[in-house]
Symmetry: C2
Subunit: 248 residues, 2 copies
DNA sequence: CGACCGCTTGAGTCCCATCAAAGACTGTGG
DNA sequence: CCACAGTCTTTGATGGGACTCAAGCGGTCG
């Protein structure tokens, strides 16, 4: 166990990189002050477990930087990822004192934590927080439902293509590199994590990636660096609605 | 097309069967009055489509009675159910003017509709509504994630057992018939709807139900009337965490 | 009665999981 | 420097679980 205690000396909410996307997005100056008084930072290294399902959890948090995963498991070890936590995503549930899922850091991550009780009280008094949280939860619900369609009805090849196109689009929307329809990005996940996300085995993931490469749908440089020569082609492989889903 | 216009003469919120569970659960008398002024009822017959994905939707609603389904489809017709709407469940999304899913009435249903714009304005002013909606949305998100585990990792037999145990428990919690661990209920879904829910084909659903019957896990009377002689046994077949999920 | 719908059951096929082995890369220690 | 272990990944061989295609049953409705 090395240091999961590299807390930033102090980060002002005003300077926070997720200030305008996280649960605090709508807060005004005085509301931020209140949040600031109950917040603290925690960081975790890639591979570390943030919390185990069922564990006591007396904080809620925002992911400031890095990537984490939300997973559920069956007794015999079968694992399904049920969410991917990206910067600005919210962790935990007000009113619930135990974690419902395993949270694992995929990369090094920094989280902005709020003690749960004070946060809940603050939420009662501050509609801006509840409103934003509602929005974010509705978005997550939509994402979960899109994923249900993928898990229930798509083939392995379509699943891989879907994941790649989602990562590609997210990446393109962050760095505004809209060079034609050619896109390049890094996969933030191992083959195993992809398998857990897609409801496949890692062997099948590997095979289907190889197949997409062989068929010219994607190009690979190393294991993780992907370029998509023709985004439209990839979308077709994903089997989604034609146009390409405007929803983030 | 027969009459989908059997509106109840008038139903006072105070007498509403879902008064204390729906989105209005936390509202006080004066808030109810406001809701009452923008509400109207619509009913649909079993089998009717309430709305198509992508259609304009200028209302949100609560299911008062009956059952409806939320489904998503791929271009080639593959269908996945992404939600089951039971009495008190909320339909639509504030701030979104088009339906994201197909909604179909499984039984005759009655919906309490609110014009969207006034509802949104009311929500801004009425934290009680937003708070309740947040709770309900978080519950739905949990349900969706549990379903992701089922879709991604469970076998056909486990999927069927899971569905049966969910319906059984819900039914038992409504009518307080806790006779030992023997339970009896009706399936509200056709084999095809079950298949769409579980990410299976209707043939596989039928075969697995037959198998569970043959193995004595369930007993069948007709096609829809199920009795579970030993609830614990069913839970084991479902592959879930041992104890049996206290979460409603 | 015949048509239709929901459901069951059978036969054959295929996609993906499983089991197994080996390649690519990294870091560690002799 | 290289040997070695460990992790991540690829690829092959095999089998099985669920899908597909197809036929038939029982009930309801026109």
């Amino acid at each position: 166990m090395s240091h999961d205690d590299v807390y930033p000396a102090s980060l002002q909410c005003g300077d926070c990189p997720i200030r305008h996307r996280a649960v605090c997005a709508r807060c005004e100056a005085n509301e931020l002050d209140e949040l600031e008084s109950v917040k603290y930072y925690r960081s975790f290294e890639a591979g570390q477990t943030v919390i185990w399902s069922g564990d006591k959890m007396d904080f809620v948090a925002s992911v400031v930087s890095g990537i984490a995963t939300l997973t559920q498991t069956l007794e015999d070890g079968r694992t399904q990822m049920v969410g991917l936590l990206l910067p600005s995503d919210f962790v935990g549930r007000p009113g619930r004192d135990r974690a419902a899922y395993n949270i694992t850091a995929t990369t090094d991550i920094l989280m902005c934590c709020f003690r749960r009780k004070p946060f809940e009280e603050l939420m009662e008094r501050t509609p801006h927080i509840a409103q934003r949280l509602l929005q974010m939860t509705l978005d997550e619900l939509d994402a979960a439902r899109e994923w249900m369609l993928l898990l229930g009805r798509k083939t392995a090849r379509e699943k891989i293509a879907s994941l790649l196109s989602i990562v590609a689009r997210r990446d393109a929307s962050i760095r505004h590199r809209r060079t034609d329809n050619r896109l390049t990005f890094d996969l933030p996940l191992t083959r195993e994590a992809m398998a857990d996300y897609l409801g496949l085995t890692l062997e099948t993931v590997s095979r289907q990636i190889s197949a997409l490469k062989r068929d010219g749908v994607i190009e690979l440089e190393g294991k993780r660096h992907v370029t998509v020569p023709d985004m439209e082609r990839l979308m077709i492989e994903a089997g989604d609605d034609s146009d390409g889903g405007l929803i983030v």
